[in-house]
């Protein structure tokens, strides 16, 4: 009886003049795990970008609580943050990875529907997959003045705008259902831009 392990099989196949791909149908089991599909790669990037955006809002919410933005700021930030939490949950639910595969961003901040502000949470390394999205909304927050508040609003608006644009780029080449999810999230981001603009310039 011949027992071939993953180590010995290539030697046996080589001795018989065969490659492992001659012996099996489908992906060569000896060349390692197949690379993730296009939709998975795109989805992982979207998840990382959403995580970075959430981190930005968490920081902004902490800044807003310190009184550096107008009265409606904290409530609006928390509302928009909760919706980004919903986006993240939906994106993660769409990501189906084979068992044993590493997750998209192991160090990422967690967020789920109903996410609340947690000032201590920071952006995960490498999570800034969307241009303009960085966890620095509170960088000017130390002064607690109106200028700092406007800086936070401007950063959030820029990040939302960048996120919407990234969503549009992603949807062109993926499965239709995933494209619709990206389009819906991008549209939500666009409404956030308008809501933040209204906060910056009340009627």
């Amino acid at each position: 009886m011949l027992v071939a392990s993953a180590t010995t099989l290539p030697l046996l196949l080589a001795a018989s003049g065969c490659r492992s791909s001659d012996a099996f149908d489908g992906p060569d089991p000896l060349t390692g795990r197949p690379s993730p599909g296009h939709d998975v790669v795109v989805l992982q990037a979207a998840i990382s970008a959403e995580e970075a955006l959430i981190s930005l809002y968490v920081t902004a919410t902490a800044t807003a609580s310190a009184g550096s933005v107008s009265a409606g700021g904290p409530a609006l930030f928390e509302s928009l943050l909760a919706q980004h939490g919903q986006h993240l949950a939906r994106l993660r639910a769409a990501l189906v990875l084979p068992p044993g595969t590493a997750t998209a961003s192991p160090g990422a901040a967690t967020a789920s529907p109903g996410v609340t502000a947690s000032p201590g949470v920071t952006a995960s390394p490498g999570a800034a997959a969307s241009p303009g999205v960085t966890a620095s909304a509170g960088a000017e927050g130390g002064t607690g003045g109106r200028g700092a508040g406007h800086g936070v609003l401007a950063r959030l608006r820029a990040a939302e705008r960048a996120s919407a644009a990234a969503g549009l780029r992603r949807l062109a080449t993926v499965d239709p259902a995933l494209a619709q999810l990206f389009a819906s999230i991008a549209a939500c981001d666009a409404t956030h831009v308008a809501a933040l603009a209204a906060l910056a310039s009340p009627p």
Partner: protein
């Protein structure tokens, strides 16, 4: 869904919105009425854009109906704003259908086109939604 049928559905939603704003606008005043007039104009322009696209694809654009049944009675400013939000939700949903077609340019067109009605819906509703255009069964 084919490209033509998706565009026709968006056109039908735009036609319904144009009709509906005619009703809602009568119960609004001041800045809200001005917003409704602007939205009516935007929907009319979108209707023309969609009609031209459908014609270029060799199909005949669907005609507007003479009358549309309203989803609820409109009799004051509150219900007029609710109708406007309802109409914008319908247009947003229709453009999301365009995003599902194979043609990449049309997908991007649909995704961009749905942002304006999503913004308008948020304005009339007074709050944003996490997933504009997606129905609860899609989520």
């Amino acid at each position: 869904m084919t490209a033509v049928s998706a565009l026709q559905a968006a056109l039908a939603a735009e036609n319904a919105a144009i009709y509906g704003y005619g009703v809602a606008g009568a119960y609004l005043a001041g800045s809200r009425q001005a917003a409704a007039i602007q939205d009516w104009t935007d929907h009319s322009e979108a209707r023309d854009t969609l009609s031209a696209m459908i014609t270029r694809l060799g199909a005949t654009p669907v005609a507007a109906a003479a009358f549309y049944a309203l989803p609820f009675a409109v009799h004051d400013s509150r219900t007029a704003r609710a109708l406007a939000a309802y109409l914008e939700d319908g247009v947003t949903r229709a453009y999301l259908g365009v995003v599902a077609v194979d043609d990449q340019r049309l997908r991007t067109f649909g995704a961009l086109a749905m942002q304006a009605p999503a913004r308008r819906a948020a304005y009339w509703r007074g709050s944003t939604q996490a997933f504009p255009g997606l129905t609860s069964s899609d989520r």
